[in-house]
Assembly symmetry: C2
Homo-oligomer: 233 residues x 2
């Protein structure tokens, strides 16, 4: 259990190599070295976990040496920090995009959930990292959630407004948010539980899970037209 404390990536990579391409999609292609490191680190942190990822192993996968990684990032912690910053920006971006075109009420919720599932299909590591970072606790978790706070604020305010308008059942908005978060993230990242349930985590399965979770959330949240808006119960 090392420090995993602050370290502002003081080396050559202030934030990212030169052009700061934030959302570099799939496998490492013609990326800068620092971006390739970030990409590999993201994948490994998300799947194997931070502790189980050694700089040597990371470097080997990139056909580099550990020292090259430490040239771009002053320490392993700094790599994690950079990965978090990168991922948080990417995540925010995806959700912001989804929100831009979305309407109100249930449609809006659905748009967000759909975008998360889209993300899960295209870049599963991102959501995996979210899990891992939340598991690691401070300071990593703090960094991540501070970066995502604007989204949380918006979501919380939105839910509250809907509840005030009587279109969604009344709950503590923050706890409701946690519930939605847990459900969606779980449906997307709980690969082992899925397997234990006899459901192989394929692309087709992902679509089914999306359909199911949407139906579930809908009946949990939305107050049907004829239905009366009960205060709590």
């Amino acid at each position: 259990m090392p420090g995993r404390s602050s370290a502002d990536a003081g080396g050559p990579a202030g934030g990212a190599g030169a052009p700061a391409v934030i959302g570099a999609g799939g496998v490492a292609a013609g990326l800068s070295t620092s971006d390739r490191i970030l990409s590999a680190a993201l994948a490994s942190f998300a799947t194997r976990g931070y502790d189980a990822t050694s700089l040597d192993a990371l470097a080997k996968g990139l056909e580099l040496t550990k020292q090259s990684i430490l040239y771009w990032f002053p320490s392993k912690d700094a790599v994690l920090e950079a990965v978090i910053a990168w991922s948080a920006a990417d995540l925010s971006g995806a959700l912001e995009t989804a929100l831009r075109g979305a309407g109100t009420g249930w449609v809006r919720v659905e748009a967000v959930v759909r975008s998360v599932f889209r993300l899960a299909a295209r870049q599963p590591e991102l959501l995996g990292l979210l899990r891992e970072v939340s598991r690691l606790g401070p300071p990593a978790a703090t960094q991540m959630f501070v970066a995502l706070e604007p989204l949380v604020q918006r979501a919380s305010a939105f839910l509250e407004a809907e509840m005030d308008a009587g279109t969604m059942r009344r709950h503590d908005p923050r706890l409701l948010l946690l519930a939605i978060y847990s459900t969606v993230i779980g449906m997307v990242t709980e690969v082992e539980v899925l397997r234990a349930l006899g459901e192989e985590p394929t692309a087709r399965s992902l679509v089914r899970r999306r359909t199911d979770v949407l139906a579930l959330l809908r009946s949990a949240l939305v107050i049907a037209p004829g239905e009366q808006a009960r205060p709590q119960d």
Copy 2:
């Protein structure tokens, strides 16, 4: 990433020291050494994680040496295995007890959820371990879920029966189970997310979360008396 493979605890501890006290509750008291090791390992695996838990640190906390741990368990993997076996039995026991007195329909779901929250209050490490093990993947995850499979079967069958009876909305039972699992476990173990939402994880908060998640699940699952049982929507 070591082996973490099979190793059937061949040493002095076949399964647990002598009396095989399965559900030894709180802090290590007058327990046998092997049980004290298990208890400490459970706590550390659940909070710090398996990889970040060293045998030395574990031993130090118990005022033992690492070699004493390796006397009772042939390897670190074996400790994990024993912890999983122990925890799975404990978990099963708690849920079985909850199920014994429970009725049918929503009441039954509520009983289970309540028992999980009770567990979260009394022995948070148990649920933390569940998370960690599911993150570790095979073989640890396999072992855990195989041990819990009977419960999964019962739960799945129960949900299906309720849906057939028209008392619960129709979903894929397994996916529904995953959703419930994710929600409840998330509400109970996502400490960092909770903090990010400005909700300190106190005992009082746990009660509020229980109330909230129950209300949420209820409206998600239960088909209201007057409501028509739609096939899918």
